[in-house]
Amino acid sequence: MTTRNDSTVAIATAPPRTVRPSRLRAIRRSLSTPGGIFGISWLLLIVVASFTAPLWSPYGPNEQTGSVALAGPSAAHWLGTDDLGRDVLTRIFTAGADAIATSALGAAVALAVAIPLALWAASRGRGTETVINRVTEIAMSIPVIIIMLTVVGIVGTNLPLIMVILGLVISTGMYRVLLGQAKSLQSQLYVDAAFVDGLTAPRVSGRHVLPGLTTTIMVQFALVFSIGLMIQTGLAFIGFGPPVPAPSWGGMIQNASTHIYDAPWLMVPTGVVLILTVFAANSIGDALSGPREKAPVRSNTRSLRARRAAASAGNTEPTGSSPVAAPSATEPALSVQGLHVGLDDGTTLVSDVSFAVSAGRVLGLVGESGCGKTLTSLSLIGLLPTSVATTAGSILWNGRDIAALSEQELFRVRGREIAFIAQEPMRALDPMFSIGSQLTGAVQRLRSVPKREAGAIATALLEQVGIVDAARVLTSYPHEISGGMAQRVAIAIALAGRPRLLIADEPTTSLDVTVQAEILSLLRQIIAEEGMTMVMVTHDLGVVADICDDVAVMYAGQIVETGAVRSVLLEPAHPYTKALLGADPHATGAGGPKRRLVSIPGQVPAPRDWPSSCRFAQRCDFATAACSGSVPLTPRPSGAGLSRCIRAEELFARPTSSLPAHAAALKEQVD
């Protein structure tokens, strides 16, 4: 699996810089949310109050106090009295410890059975797993409460025993949950590595799989605890609780329900305590499973202007009007000026990016992961992920500023004027709909033609992207075709609205090289045929050399060098571009294949750590004291274009030659 997915998440979350947080500390941290604190405090309160009841309560739990029966709250009886004049508060808390202890017992039994079973099934592979799955499936075919009633018929109302059996019954469901996660942990490469280290299967399960289950186990414990509590109170409610007069929550609610006409208050105390207890256990479970994924607030509910205002109130650098690379004399079709993209929290991810693309040309945005190239490309079609937005700058396309368009205005641009091709063709297609319905639907929407005509256009589009058996592919679902075929389909969908500008985000990265070559040829041919303009995001300098006319090299959210591909790749005028070329094993120098690559020391800094100086200075072989100031883009020493290096003139200026020596040598080699 090639993970070059720097599109959204990877950028948004810079690596945390905390000192070694132990597992316990992580659990403690997740429990110190309001829900977790409430849950633990409440359960503790019940247990402590239960054991200390004789100390703080003037009444015994079964003592008929002689006060008025079925009375409401009073100074003497804070929660009132029941039909025999017993103190409700004392009875509730006296019953608490048993309820909590036996529920915990059931949960412990369930996990004690489920954990080893899940670990074993995960480590043994398909055969064992199928057998265990079938057995649990049969066990889960009877509703739990029916089993429990039968069990009560056999063992009577022995609460601990009933809860142990309940634990056994529920363990099948827990096994299912744990198995899924154990299997995904088992498939991690570090498990393979542990086997290579010579660990036996049980040791691997214990050391590498089980610790990863900790959180799930605790969450499941809380869940089974509350199920157990519900079931035991339910059983007590229908008369299978501890024998009278011992207090139990279910029994007390049952008793209260018989007085619903004359003393409805009696329902309240026990019910609320029971609900709070279940709620407490669930809250602990929720807190442990980490912050829940928040439903994103849709971007169009907040005005862009408000976002921009918020962002510029932060620490965004002032948008200096920087020179724009206009590689050819013609009027640019797309012109990006001073573009800033940032997170809602004010972190800047793309800063002051400016470039222009002339009609019919292909611009490559190239750089390593985290440099902001994908976000830049997404902003060109207004498809930035939620919580990321363009905070400053303009994107001029056909006389309009894409960055300032409303969602409705963008709606008319997307697909019809500007189309998008994503990195993972398989994930870009909707797995639930046939390719025909996706492609025809796009054609219908974007060309406003009737369905029948759209079908014919869809077939023609598939043929245009080089698919021979279009009819068969139209009836297929995405999972039935190969990755290369899926990317052809995705390109056909992008062409559905006859767009003038194509944005392609690493369209060949997840494909095999032979397929990549085919897709690149296809893109080149389509652009030529349709006279389209394209912005191509890639990390591969070879792809840039193959398909792009102009290139913008990005580093840490900035453009560090732009210009025509020939001048940038053959005569780089920025130390980073030069270093990238040196690190590329495909760049064959004059002396045949390289034995050793030029490596760039260190790492790309995270967005939060971007210095105000030259962002590459820390890793640059040529850095001097002067590099600590802010560095503007300046004209490259040779050829058109710009470079963000104060030493460019001194380092890279050379007598102009139309073709560098090594390129000429290579040309001969290929011939």
Binding site: Q188, Y190, G198, L199, D512, G542, A545, L580
Partner: protein, 333 residues
Amino acid sequence: MTLLSPQSLAADAAAQPVLEVENLVIRYGRPTRRPTGPAAVDGVSFTIRPGETLGLVGESGSGKTTIGKAILGLQAVTSGSIRFEGQQIDGLKPKARRVLATKLRAVFQDPYSSLNPRLSIGDSLAEPLLVSGVRREEALLRAEDMLEQVGLPRDAVTRLPRQFSGGQRQRIAVARALITRPSLVVCDEPVSALDLSTQAQVLNLLADLRDELGLSYLFIAHDMAVVRMLAQRVIVLYRGQVMEEGSTAAVMDDARHPFTQALLAASPVPDPIAQAERRRLRESRLVDGASASSISATGCPFAARCPMATELCRTERPALRPAAASLAACHYA
């Protein structure tokens, strides 16, 4: 059994391959079931000599990773044999395999998944040493030494994987592989998840350590140029079968098999002038259009995509035979 003189025994030992793979076949699914579909690995044989790096190149689905897993004992073998330093190791029981753990090591592709996020770097590195009976203090000391050797600070032992970047993690993975002083390391796409600049760091590191420690590598990759950096010999796989085999120079500079040629021609170089030339060359001999036409079970697996395929290719599977300086499985090589 013939009697051998001590000298010839010693000579044999010196020449004995580190790894011999013979006619390896791997099918997925339960062995009891009738095999359906083509084998993931179909009759692959090769040897690796001490100090040698063999490159295993192919596209996704070529079976290259499966072969690596089979050698490491992570994948059951359907038929054929794998011998490590003369000893049969396929189908070995886990206990017996443990002896191998110090001599046969691995570096995996994804540095984010190959280190347990819950174990400190020191614990991960010490694991193979502890298994082979080294005391914990000594194991941690050796872990620090090893980290230094791969260019990381000694105090990294106390830190967790998430405090390191992808490139640094891959250095740690290399350290874990080499800490037991192995004789063979299976490197499964060790740099394909890394960015260019860090990829170069790791490739240089692997080359330096090999030369320093006299290691053998089985270097699995999809990228010919990356393999070229390290391998002396290379095997090109397609759908589980060997297409071409030979010295790296012979295979890369004078490829005989149409698939190898296609693979080499498809990989773009970052030189626009040279690349334009390469593309022209490639497009002039392209089978155009994509279709899901199936591969014949009896013929050459590449026939469906081969520009030179004839009826013979679709009906008869070509054997691996000498072609120029290498071996190629093509009727027309």
